[in-house]
């Protein structure tokens, strides 16, 4: 189905099932431990052996030799595959360091061997008997030190967030010099880790030339292609299956070493092999969100109209790796006649930097939205009012191009009312609650809505049930449930009459899970397939499909009413289709918006920061399931708190690796860090987005939260910290007098 004109009235608009806060259909499996994740698929292949991965203990250089004599002789060892036994493998999609093969070491904990044994304990013990002789080379590990040599570069996060090396509108320098009120500050964000709860894991089995990977991956079709490319085998010989994924956040967009090593090990062992990356290996072996150094310049009139806006970012990556696209949102978020956005990229020898939840916008808004707070104060304006004054209903660099929908102002004003913003004291450091200094902060949230082709197959079974098959994944996002809701709405059957099968590359290729594009595109693909199935049903029942109404398990047309299952009485009906998009999103900008409000308390004696209240008001198209969408948003808000207050991969700039590479050293928010969270959706169906009239929401939840926290800390203390995370050591020696 080609979607190239705005949606009109369609069966989804009935909202009998869609738009309802139904419980997740996979909930009873996840809560009972019966949902099987990759490493747990004992039943899919017999005689599975255990693989244990050894990572490089240097950051850069080469391997002279690997002595595996003792390891091979260790009890239970089946086989060992070392990187010296294997030619350098091809790179997968959006992959910039070899996952395996050859003597060169490009980053710390790059995989150098996999040991396969009868048990996990035996494989682990034998792995530590390997002796690797390294020749270490000097490397570049310090972004601040390399920033001066960084080259201008354009870039694309792979999730639609992209910018040129220097994009200009008007005359920024002239307007900035002429502006009566200006701001020029530099902000830094650290390297961050996805830290999803399920480690990357794969079971691999070969049947002749055919390889099956039961793995944990967000993008099945991409990964099927990447596995084929990396291993040099035809795509048709690869099957990837990921029905349950224990979190990804971008860390499982791409094929990683677990999948490649399981495949190589299974070939060498001539039996199925399962491999999980150990927790301490994940941070340096896989990808991370790169650190940024961001400069924001704002020029405005005295009454708070922005006339000049510039946002420049420096990040680092391995050779050929992309920049963190932290400036992208600044092209679209606020008005201003004269504009500059630019990026520079330094070459670093740290592990591979890549997409993490809202790449670009998440760190970018942590800078821009603090700058907006600082500028509002300079202007003597309320920060909500300053943002409202600079709202734009068109793409500022392209004024003939409107937003399809944009109610940032509604998000901010409703948020302000709901949160009690009028009680905020604009003068910082004034509000006390016992030993706590209390402050309120606000930030805008922004993330684009992305359209991507997505396919599905639907079956009307003989027993009247409807089965949906697509390679779409559910990484905690609620895909199972909203897909079932879509099929139930379209076919007029109850939710429990729908079976959803996800994550199998033998199913039609979907948009997959990334860039908050999954929900709208994947359900639109199911919609397209259901339209075809409705036609097939009508044809078999001899009903005119144009006026057929599907409801309550019955198909009605004129005076006729036939049970839906009768259409399958003579055999199941199968329909397959995909949603494909025209240029609607080029004519009008599709984005999602939020107003994030945060209250913090800062201990006047210790500078400990506690988040006390959080609110997000989101404008993100039709909300397909308010319950699971709200969970996506609060989850993003939790990650935003982490980014603001604690998350930081510490770089050892001499040895070239992230030091705190486990869940004790890399701190993420825990229960005690998170208060009750409130979310309000401005439900606004967008006919430009798809027949579902929905948009992404999963990444909007994280976008802007970090800045709202930082702004609240400033309002509480009067101390501005421009280097994330806001740990207490950055406040303590400047804290106001406790008396």
């Amino acid at each position: 189905m080609k979607f190239d004109t705005p949606a009109t009235q369609n069966p989804i608009d009935q909202l009998k099932v869609i738009g309802q806060s139904v419980n997740r259909i996979d909930g009873k499996f996840k809560t009972t431990g019966t949902a099987a994740y990759a490493y747990e698929r004992h039943d899919v292949a017999p005689n599975q052996a255990y693989g244990y991965v050894l990572g490089a203990s240097i950051a850069k250089g080469r391997i002279r030799a690997i002595d595996d004599t003792s390891a091979r002789a260790a009890p239970g060892v089946v086989t060992i595959v070392t990187t010296l036994d294997t030619p350098p493998l091809a790179l997968g999609q959006m992959n910039y360091a070899n996952l395996f093969g050859g003597a060169e070491i490009a980053h710390y904990h790059q995989a150098v061997a996999v040991v396969v044994a009868e048990t996990f304990e035996q494989a682990r013990a034998a792995a530590f008997l390997l002796t690797v002789d390294y020749e270490t080379e000097a490397g570049r590990f310090d972004l601040a030190a390399e920033a001066g040599s960084a080259e201008p570069v354009g870039g694309d996060s792979g999730e639609g967030s992209d910018s040129g090396p220097g994009d200009r509108v008007g005359d920024f320098e002239g307007a900035f010099a002429a502006a009566p009120v200006t701001l020029d500050h530099t902000y830094t964000t650290p390297d961050e880790s996805h830290a999803m709860m399920e480690p990357h894991a794969t079971i691999a089995a070969w049947q002749g030339e055919k390889l099956t990977l039961w793995t944990s991956n967000q993008m099945i079709a991409w990964s099927k292609g990447s596995v084929a490319k990396i291993l040099g085998i035809p795509k048709e010989n690869v099957r990837v299956d990921s029905p349950y994924i224990g979190g990804g956040f971008g860390g499982k967009l791409f094929v990683r070493a677990d999948a490649v090593l399981a495949a190589l090990a299974a070939k060498a062992a001539r039996r199925p092999v399962k491999v999980a990356l150990t927790r301490p290996l994940i941070v340096n072996n896989t990808t991370h969100r790169p650190a940024t150094i961001q400069r924001v310049r704002l020029g405005a009139t005295r009454d708070g109209i922005i006339t000049a806006i510039a946002h420049e970012s420096i990040s680092g990556n391995l050779k050929d790796g992309p920049p963190e696209t932290a400036v992208d949102q600044t092209k679209l978020l606020y008005a201003g006649a004269h504009r500059l956005t630019g990026m520079k990229l330094a070459r670093l020898d740290l592990p591979e930097g890549n997409a993490m939840r809202a790449p670009g916008e998440a760190p970018g808004l942590m800078a821009l939205e603090v700058a907006m707070d600082e500028m509002a104060e300079k202007l003597g304006l309320d920060p909500v009012e300053f943002r409202i004054r600079n709202d734009t209903q068109v793409d500022p660099g392209n004024p003939e191009r409107p937003f399809s929908q944009r109610d940032l102002v509604g998000c901010l004003t409703l948020g302000a009312t709901t949160f009690g913003w009028d009680k905020r004291n604009p003068k910082p450091g004034q509000v006390r609650d016992g030993h706590w200094l209390v402050g309120l902060g606000v930030a805008s949230g922004f993330r684009n809505n992305l359209l991507a082709k997505s396919g599905a197959r639907v079956r009307l079974e003989v027993d009247g049930r409807v089965t949906v098959e697509t390679d779409m994944t559910d990484i905690g996002t609620g895909s199972y449930t909203i897909i079932a809701q879509t099929a139930a709405e379209m076919m007029g059957v109850a939710l429990d009459g729908i079976v959803v099968r996800l994550g199998d590359s033998d199913h039609p290729a979907s948009a997959g899970s990334g860039g908050q594009w999954g929900a709208n595109n994947a359900t639109a693909g199911v919609y397209a397939a259901c339209v075809k199935l409705r036609e097939a049903v009508a044809q078999r029942l001899g009903i005119n499909s144009a006026d057929a109404v599907f409801a309550d398990g019955v198909v009605r047309s004129g005076n006729r009413a036939v049970p839906l299952c009768e259409a399958a009485a003579s055999g199941e009906l199968v329909a397959e289709d995909a949603i494909e998009y025209g240029d609607l999103s080029k004519k009008q900008q599709q984005s999602t918006f939020a107003g994030h409000f945060v209250e913090v308390g800062v201990d006047i004696h210790t500078a400990e920061i506690r988040v006390r209240r959080m609110l997000a008001v989101c404008a993100a198209g039709r909300i397909l399931n308010p319950k699971s969408a709200r969970s996506q948003v609060i989850g993003g808000m939790v990650m935003g708190v982490g980014a603001a207050l604690m998350e930081e991969l510490a770089v050892d700039t001499r040895r070239g690796f992230f030091v705190n590479h486990d869940l004790a050293g890399y701190e993420v928010p825990v229960h005690a860090d998170i208060p009750h969270q409130k979310v309000i959706f401005l439900d606004e169906p967008d006919p430009q987005s798809s027949p579902m009239k929905a948009k992404g929401v999963g990444e909007l939840g994280v976008c802007g939260v970090g800045a709202a926290v930082a702004n609240a800390v400033y309002n509480a203390t009067g101390l501005r910290v421009r280097d994330y995370p806001l740990t207490l050591d950055k406040l303590l020696d400047r804290m106001p007098d406790a008396a």
Binding site: K30, T31, P75, G247, S631, A672
Partner: protein
């Protein structure tokens, strides 16, 4: 108990027989003594509801209730549990026979990806029992009074169970409901 008859040295794994009760059923295993209780469940009994998030006692995804107390099953060896009474997530309830805490997690959407969920639920059940038993926590203000299942008590006691999807707010509501207090 180690098999004293077999030759044992650094070259071959030391095996031991261990018997315990898992979810009400007596189970007996011959295990490499390096096998954690978590791997005994996941790899030997195929009870994979208990998750391996870190294998270092840092995340809580492996939480089981052993002899009435919640523990990180990755931090204890199976052979240390001879005779123990072990409850895993599979023992609390099943898909068509949910434990009230499992049901509350579903209704409050107290999970997303689901990987930390079994540990959260086992911890949640045990936390409410700890409060019921009068065991104080770091945030208990009055050590002479019985602790109550307040949101602060729940958050403090649940903080060893990480959830990267960020379902904390919903988990606290699910537990508060089960504790019999208004959410």
């Amino acid at each position: 108990m180690a098999d004293a008859g077999a030759p044992v040295g650094p070259e071959s794994p030391v095996m031991a027989n261990v018997a315990f009760t898992v979810n009400g059923k007596r189970r007996e295993l011959d295990l490499d003594i390096r096998t954690s209780l978590l791997d005994a469940a996941r790899e030997h009994l195929h009870l994979s509801g208990s998750k391996k998030g870190c294998d270092h006692g840092q995340c809580g995804a492996c939480t089981m209730i052993v002899d009435g107390r919640r523990i990180n099953a990755c931090l204890t060896l199976a052979v240390m549990h001879q005779g123990s009474d072990i409850v895993t997530i599979e023992g609390l309830g099943q898909p068509d026979n949910l434990h009230p805490m499992q049901d509350a997690f579903v209704r409050h959407d107290g999970y997303q990806c689901g990987y930390c969920t079994p540990g959260q639920i086992c911890s949640g059940v045990a936390v409410l029992a700890e409060i019921e038993a009068g065991i104080p926590s770091h945030v208990t203000a009055d050590l002479n009074a019985a602790p109550e299942a307040t949101a602060d008590e729940i958050r403090e006691r649940m903080s060893g169970n990480l959830c990267r999807c960020g379902a904390y707010s919903n988990i606290v509501e699910a537990m508060t409901e089960i504790a019999g207090r208004p959410a």
